[in-house]
């Protein structure tokens, strides 16, 4: 039988505020356990939450970026369950009135665009961390993370493959960073996701029974977890079994998913509006303010790059994938005045090649756009060839010198003086009579030999165009 996979994602993006969602404690990562938890985060008797207005602004920003309905009125609710790292015995979240309503986002898979629906996005506080090692059979609690603001972004079950799910997750990841509302750091847990997965016979309208895969924190694992879960579900159904609705955990080491709890064991969270917090009203003034503050979004930027710089879709997509990279590219074009394709090539091939190998972000690039512009200018004005430029680029990576300084110091300036090139060519023709004969008798390929020899003799500095011209003249058949 042909099976169809149905996937919906719940993404938790940690909002990049300085302080927590309901207290003044810092949100910085990596502090000593329990040093960034104040009385409110500890849930001491008598304390009250006060909403950090910055999170509202960030959520509205996200909502606008996915063309979503922003609620006029949004309510915080208590989600009740007991867990040692949940200090109050309830999580403050949103249920009936989330701040962001229905929106959408386009993804591209195999060159095709697909629209994925976003059901809602709501604000909530994170819990703390339970530490099961190093406590001799007991559990340690670190509440530094308790109260960290999260935006939970819930998609429609619109994805039909692990590949689409990853594309959607990447798109959201890219977007929240674009909007400056999340640092996107997956190792530190700033961006993680739960995947709802089910399968159904192709053509069937109803959804199959789904399982929820919890807390997956890398793109690679999302893909693997979904694929392995789909396989598991199909195996069960084909063997005549039924899928149990349950929460499952992905074990990356064993590449398997295993059951955490079934639907029957699931908590009744007893949601109700939190009486400690007033409803949030989103004013027109705030909407206008956030809208004015909205950056150019990746999709729009990509189109602009195609239109303005005549880039192909893939290159435009790469260059607009992060705001910083896009800014680098545009600054390079402006400063160098070079052909936009040369600029985009140097950024996507040479520079990103090096950065990716070293695991650096564009902001950490050892070569600033100004220095790279200096290099590209020298290619454009024929001071150096493209090939020599790579040599200069390598030297620039290792030092802070400008392209000009390196060209000067290493004597890499291109030879464009046709007299000098003619002299070299004359010598090569004289030294290789056999090859000359071969060429003249019709072996076109030998022409390349002469070009190579000339370049070698000039240490690559001879202007290739000039070399071609003179060789053709001298070896006229």
């Amino acid at each position: 039988m042909q099976w169809e996979t149905v996937i919906g994602l719940e993404i938790h993006a940690q909002l990049a505020t300085k302080t927590k969602i309901f207290s003044g404690a810092a949100t910085a990562y990596g502090a000593e356990p329990n040093t960034q938890a104040c009385a409110v985060d500890l849930g001491l008797p008598g304390v009250l939450p006060v909403l950090n207005q910055e999170v509202v602004r960030m959520a509205v920003k996200f909502g606008m970026a996915i063309d979503a309905h922003i609620a006029d009125y949004s309510v915080f609710a208590r989600k009740n369950y007991f867990y040692p790292d949940l200090p109050k015995g309830y999580q403050i979240s949103q249920m009936d009135h989330p701040i962001v309503g229905i929106g959408h986002l386009d993804i591209e898979v195999d060159g095709k665009t697909k629209r994925i629906g976003v059901t809602r996005a709501h604000l909530e506080e994170d819990a703390g961390k339970s530490l099961h090692e190093d406590f001799h059979g007991l559990t340690g609690i670190d509440l530094n993370r308790a109260g960290t603001p999260l935006l939970e972004i819930v998609s429609e079950p619109d994805m039909r493959s692990a590949q689409e799910a990853v594309a959607y997750m990447r798109k959201i990841h890219e977007l929240v960073q674009y909007l400056d509302i999340c640092d996107g750091n997956m190792q530190e847990g700033s961006f993680r996701c739960d995947a709802n997965v089910s399968v159904r016979p192709k053509g069937q309208a109803e959804y199959g029974t789904r399982t929820e895969l919890k807390n997956i924190n890398s793109f690679k694992f999302v893909e693997k977890a979904i694929n392995i879960e789909v396989e598991r579900q199909i195996d069960i159904i084909e063997a005549g079994g039924k899928i149990t609705q349950e929460t499952r955990l992905y074990d990356a080491d064993k590449n398997e998913t295993r059951s955490m709890r079934s639907k029957e064991e699931a908590n009744d969270y007893r949601y109700f509006p939190d009486p400690d917090l007033l409803p949030v009203y989103i004013s027109d003034a705030l909407r206008a303010e956030v809208k004015a503050d909205l950056p150019e979004l990746p999709q729009i930027k990509k189109q602009r790059f195609i239109d303005t710089y005549q880039l192909d879709a893939e290159t435009a997509s790469t260059l607009s994938s992060s705001k910083e990279l896009a800014n680098y590219f545009e600054a390079l074009v402006k400063e160098s005045g070079c052909d936009t394709k040369i600029c985009s090539n140097w950024v996507t091939v040479e520079l990103l090649g090096v950065l990716n190998k070293q695991g650096l972000a564009i902001q950490q690039s050892p070569i600033s756009h100004t220095r790279l512009a200096g290099l590209l200018t020298r290619i454009a004005d024929n001071t150096i060839s493209g090939k020599i430029a790579k040599q200069v680029f390598a030297a620039m990576l290792a030092s802070d010198d400008s392209a000009d300084a390196i060209i000067e110091a290493q004597g890499l300036k291109q030879i464009t003086d046709s007299g000098a090139i003619e002299a070299i060519i004359d010598k090569i023709i004289a030294d290789n009579p056999n090859q000359v004969e071969q060429y003249l008798s019709g072996k076109d390929k030998v022409f390349g030999f002469f070009v190579g020899q000339t370049m070698k003799a000039s240490q690559g500095k001879a202007n290739p165009g000039e070399v071609n011209k003179i060789l053709q003249k001298k070896l006229k058949r």
């Binding site: 001491l44 008797p45 008598g46 006060v50 007991f82 200090p87 109050k88 015995g89 400690d276």
Partner: protein, 483 residues
Amino acid sequence: MHTKTIAQLAKGLRAGDYSSQELTASYLARIKQHTELNSFITVTEEQALTVAKQADMALATGNAPLLTGIPIAHKDIFCTQGVKTSCGSKMLDNFIAPYNATVVEKLDTAGTVSLGKLNMDEFAMGSSNETSFYGAVHNPWASNTVPGGSSGGSAAAVAARLIPGATGTDTGGSIRQPAALCGITGLKPTYGRVSRFGMIAYASSLDQGGPMTQTAEDAALMLQAMAGFDAQDSTSVEREVPDYSAGLNNSLQGLKIGLPKEFFDDGLNNDMASCIETAINEYKKMGAEIIEVSMPNLKLAIPAYYVIAPAECSANLSRMDGVRFGHRCTDPVDLNDLYIRSRGEGFGTEVKRRILVGTYALSEGYYDAYYIKAQKIRRLISDDFKRALQEVDVIMGPVSPSPAFGIGEKTSDPIEMYLADIYTIAINLAGLPAMSIPAGFIDNKPIGLQIIGNYFAEDKLLNVAHQYQQVTDWHQQTPQGFA
């Protein structure tokens, strides 16, 4: 000097009749002398004397705040830094608050000297102060009767003149009912007028702190220090605090008093009805006009309250889990055991009952039928009051169906106990301010007159109460043995 009011003591301190240290020592002596009332959970003698000394120095400068040097005490629901804050529960018997409640902070700033923490029903759940882990409080007017609750310790201590004023909290009548049963003045402010920060939550949408004093004049002085916006409490209201003493002597000529007919139906016993009628007659003499009003949804207040308050408390008390503070059972074998035994041992019966009721009311499949329905009733009750208060300036009625009842008399029947708050609960649901003032005696036990006002009309209530206290002396009566 223990029979003096806060206003009188403030004058005495400034006149140099006595120092704050003398005053503090004298009240501390009375507290020690009358431990039989069981009104205090913690007495902070040393700390009080230190603060009194500072108060005397401040008074000597001539520009100390009005309440400087005045001894008070806090209901043990308010967090006090470095001092045990038990909320009347075994659960928090070991809890030393690491911070001050805003109310505590404000009264400290106003110069008061705190002598300790007052007994109360466990987590403010009760109408008789019998649910306290620290034992029942005795009513100074008749030691075999209850002082009311949940602010029973506060009411008994003020009535016995162990302290000139105390803080209390009122979720369904917890300031007004004990004030009535002990013959003192109690004020529950408008919801949002006094910060709830540091006040251990019972039912967050209903809880409100307020003063418990001998007189309305004193209540005005204390409320002045307690009220105001607090950025730490999102439900506190950003609104200017008026001068509560300024209008105390305004004339009541033409005052419109509403009497809800539902307050005076068959359920009210004759003695209580005639006491209230006598009090109303005093107001008539002062030029007030009496208007009958109707609040048809009033009868639904108790059922609505006993869904909403338990629902909120079931979540509010979840933090008492034995993990970070409070009672923890010995040698838990696993997490579930830790939760079950810590909470099972730490909470008393009434608290458990309300947590269970609330958990049930919020459960899947019951939420709409109970919680949502109760919220709708709450809206209807608020509307009843709003409508009535468009016609009248204040609404009056009884505080409690009867004077103080016997200790143990109603403990076996929770419903009977819940009915003790029948006249007070609706006001919390509506979020309105209300007072209880001494208005007579039945069988030598004090009873209270309730005065309900419009939102943020505390100044009006105080004026109305103060004028009554100018022509009556119920509030000056002191129980035998405490004079």
